[in-house]
Symmetry: C2
């Protein structure tokens, strides 16, 4: 690891994060302190640049608040947090940053639990995604749409295939630190990747002449 | 279609939308006026209930603002709007409601355009999802992640397969009104379904004992 002695202003230039925000992250423990080189100066290295870019992505793309980012960073730093606990942590942070999950009608939860049971998935009762699922199933039901496994299996299979591949890609043959970062980035950023691609694919496949090309997906 | 004479208060009870909001929707043309039964009363029918539930879902689950909902409703009512234009309309509304899409660095767009080109997708340059894709690719790149088609093909294939199925399911054998509603609901609500299921599947597949079960997805 190359170490170089830079001031906070130069760190800001490298990362696009303002000096004031960097100082705030240092105070909050989100960014580790640099190596003191005098009473008023410290040196920062590539690890600080990388961490700042991760925090910036979690804020700007994932919409995570500072308290949640502090928790995620603490979990990355803490070897005592098991790998599998980190998906849940990132998911909880994303859900909190989402802002759309207020109070979910408790009457909506059985539909979501039934679907999760039918899929044979083992998830915790306090997973925010369980409430998110309940909320959207309630909305579908109010529109007269089916909410059972038969109607939603295509989505569940696509989500399961993608998620199992992602979990393996994020963990197999990687160090713990790499795996943790992959899990966090994966949960936050690849959801945005997939959603953007799905919307573009909608436009592509709904074009008037998509029928011929569509034969690729019979 | 059964018609029944109810006051706005009863319509509110049926849909969970407040009477004040219903009056606002009537003024804004989002909800069609009822059939006048006296100088101060009108009758509302199942079509009003259905439309109100759709609008509620677009607001609460999709996060669309009222101006966008008015555009979507106008497009549903206007047989002159071609079917394929409605995916774009719903997508633009969702993007505006997302709130995370401010100014995207123009330097980020070529990466997104290259990916779209490599995929062979035909999409419009002003699709908000193009900017969303550019934003997240920029974030990935700043974290040292690859952003080319090889790295993202798994996501693109999953999105394409799902989207082409959704477009067919929303349009084949359906009346124009049904298709339009399916497209809007599909874009708004099934994104939420998929994201919730993906996060739950992450938790499922990252459980410590998921390895044996994981053999189902080799």
């Amino acid at each position: 690891m190359t170490r170089w002695c830079v001031r906070i202003g130069e760190l800001a230039d490298r990362t696009g994060v303002s000096a004031a925000t960097i100082k705030y992250y240092l105070r909050e423990g989100i960014l580790p302190r640099g190596q003191a080189t005098s009473r008023t100066r410290a040196s920062y290295d590539e690890e600080h640049v990388r961490r700042l870019r991760l925090v910036r992505a979690l804020r700007e793309v994932g919409g995570l608040d500072v308290a949640t980012i502090r928790d995620v960073v603490a979990a990355i730093n803490d070897p005592g947090v098991p790998r599998h606990a980190l998906f849940g942590l990132a998911t909880r942070g994303l859900a909190a940053g989402d802002g759309r999950l207020g109070g979910v009608d408790p009457a909506a939860l059985p539909d979501a639990d039934q679907l999760i049971d039918d899929l044979g998935w083992r998830t915790s009762p306090d997973a925010p995604a369980r409430r998110a699922l309940a909320e959207v199933l309630l909305a579908l039901r109010s529109l007269g749409r089916p909410t059972g496994i038969d109607a939603l299996r295509r989505y569940a299979d696509a989500a399961s295939d993608l998620a199992s591949w992602e979990v393996r890609a994020a963990t197999v043959g990687r160090s713990r630190a790499e795996a943790v970062e992959s899990v966090v980035i994966g949960t936050v950023l690849y959801e945005a990747v997939f959603n953007a691609l799905r919307r573009l694919a909608h436009e592509h496949w709904s074009a008037p002449d998509a029928a011929q090309v569509g034969s690729r997906n019979p």
